[in-house]
């Protein structure tokens, strides 16, 4: 009897979670799909976004995301390798870095926004720009990215490290050919978490990349990200609700598509690491 109750509870929890997601998605589709069209995706917003499309916003979003990933991936990989392979286990410095990363990962995004504004926009004179926004997002996703990869690398069997060393292979070669490919699933997970957070980010971008809805001409131009656009339409533009729903639908589809892309990428990498 108790077992039965338990089963029912577990199923109920799972159903509740999926129901919430289905409801959210259904609501978005219901209210936004009418507005969604080819021209919505490929035209400029008119009348503060009530009419027209989101083409410049999509471009800005992708540019910001590219800047964020282009900085976070190499830096994050390097830091994770250092933490997992080069710090002595239990060493003070490594522990301090780990702790700081865990604290940083929990810092609200608005704080990153303020930091980005103070550091990139003002101190480094980048102004409200795609570059400032992207770099701020890069900082924001770095901690979780680093820690995910580090945990993945630490889980790789020490037998392979010793085996590679005993064959006269350099540390770099062992990392490149054996250890990092073996940690590819962790790399993928870190990438997914990072992309998800970065694409959906609003607070950190309002202060850094701004909300000009023109098509940016360079990375030093201001640009409005999709999430900022949705916020703007639903909060500050009366009669912008339908466009907001359509934009939100685009955002969700974008995130799902990018997740699938990241998965495919790590899968391909994974196939280099051959396990039965």
């Amino acid at each position: 009897m108790a077992d039965r109750m338990f089963t029912v509870l577990i199923w109920a929890a799972a159903l509740l979670v999926s129901a919430a997601f289905v409801w959210l998605l259904g609501d978005l589709v219901w209210r936004g799909v009418d507005r969604l069209s080819f021209s919505f995706l490929f035209s400029e917003p008119l009348n503060a976004g009530r009419e027209g499309g989101i083409a410049p916003i999509l471009i800005s979003t992708l540019l910001i995301l590219s800047v964020a990933l282009a900085t976070a991936i190499p830096l994050g990989l390097g830091a994770a390798v250092w933490l997992a392979e080069y710090t002595r286990r239990g060493g003070i410095f490594g522990q301090t870095v780990r702790l700081s990363l865990d604290v940083l990962a929990g810092v609200p995004s608005i704080v990153f926004g303020l930091f980005g504004y103070a550091f990139f926009c003002s101190y480094l004179n980048m102004g409200f720009s795609i570059l400032s926004g992207g770099l701020t997002l890069g900082c924001m996703i770095l901690p979780i990215f680093i820690r995910t990869i580090e945990v993945g690398l630490s889980a790789v069997s020490d037998d392979w490290r010793r085996g590679a060393q005993a064959l006269g292979m350099t540390r770099a070669a062992a990392l490149r050919h054996i250890l990092i490919p073996s940690a590819a699933p962790a790399l993928g997970a870190g990438l997914l978490l990072g992309i998800g957070r970065a694409t959906a980010e609003t607070a950190a971008l309002i202060f850094t990349s701004g909300y000009v809805d023109r098509t940016p001409e360079s990375l030093l131009d201001s640009g409005r990200a999709l999430a900022v656009h949705i916020y703007e339409l639903s909060m500050n533009v009366t009669g912008g609700d339908q466009a907001a729903y359509a934009s939100a639908l685009v955002l969700i589809v974008l995130i799902i598509a990018m997740n699938a892309g990241a998965l495919a990428f790590t899968d391909r990498w994974l196939s280099r690491r051959i396990t039965p």
């Binding site: 037998d159 006269g168 350099t170 490919p181």
Partner: protein, 277 residues
């Protein structure tokens, strides 16, 4: 590479080589001590390892046999707290010299571990990677060396049709033989083996043991084993280690048969007859 050339080194050819048990020291170890932090695990070991022979290191767990082995190819460098003192001359070079290029040392002194550790790559990649990392990139030469190594360990017939299959799909014994092939592909002169058969089933263990016997003459083999019968079957020389006041020491070293049949030291006598250890 044509077939005729490729078959020069077959399973049989490993047996040929310089006559074994010439008492020519290949590795001369003097006053070797290993400690981890404050704990000394091995104290002042001196012995000669003879060229082309199989030297077995026997003794109970924890008496420093594996540390001795790891010191000889400087794998102890990987443990931050490890400190190695003494000298060990290989072909006139002190391998314990901190200025020594350890990567080229490890190419000359191969190592086989207790648990088979093929890389999570294809069978071919497992052998190709160490070659490429050591500067051998010519396609036909790489192919030739891979085939030769696989023949030497008797794996060629078993895997020739699935070189591009995952190495981890092989059985435990095959994996261990692949690891030996991976060490042989770099053409080392010394092979260190840390209980290479203990993680294998009896059948595979027998195959690997037979392989080790075939390596005699062409390679100088130092093998740690807990299997006394195995040591007796395959070794030319044996070194008996024992813990004295929690520190590993070399008690007796000599030709294998006399050490087992007429040991000089009472500790050795008790251990080989199964009375202690």
């Amino acid at each position: 590479m044509n077939d005729e050339q490729a078959t020069i080194y077959t399973v049989g050819n490993v047996e040929s080589g310089p006559p074994c048990c010439d008492p020519v020291p290949h590795l001369s170890v003097r006053d070797l001590s290993v400690s981890y932090g404050e704990t000394t695990v091995l104290d002042e070991v001196s012995l000669d390892i003879y060229k082309g022979c199989i030297t077995a290191l026997i003794g109970p767990s924890g008496c420093g046999k594996t540390s001795f082995l790891s010191a000889l190819n400087r794998l102890t460098d990987l443990i931050p707290t490890a400190r190695v003192e003494g000298r060990a001359h290989l072909e006139g070079v002190n391998v314990l010299d901190p200025r020594l290029d350890v990567l080229s040392l490890r190419r000359k002194v191969g190592m086989i571990f207790q648990r088979p550790n093929p890389f999570p790559l294809t069978i071919r990649r497992n052998l190709e990677l160490p070659l490429r990392e050591n500067g051998i990139r010519r396609r036909d030469l790489v192919e030739y060396k891979i085939q030769t190594a696989l023949r030497d360990v008797g794996l060629w017939e078993e895997v020739r049709d699935r070189l591009d299959h995952p190495a981890l799909a092989l059985s435990g014994g095959q994996q261990q033989r692949l690891c030996i092939a991976r060490a042989l592909v770099l053409e080392p002169s010394v092979l260190l083996m840390d209980e290479p058969c203990s993680a294998l089933d009896p059948l595979s263990s027998g195959v690997v043991e037979e392989l080790i016997q075939r390596l005699r003459g062409r390679y100088t083999v130092v093998i740690v084993t807990h299997n006394l019968a195995q040591a007796r079957r395959i070794a030319n020389y044996a070194a008996f280690f024992w813990m004295k006041e929690r520190v590993g020491k070399l008690i007796e070293f000599g030709q294998c048969r006399p050490l087992f049949e007429t040991p000089e030291h009472p500790l050795t006598a008790a251990y080989v007859s199964g009375l202690s250890g």
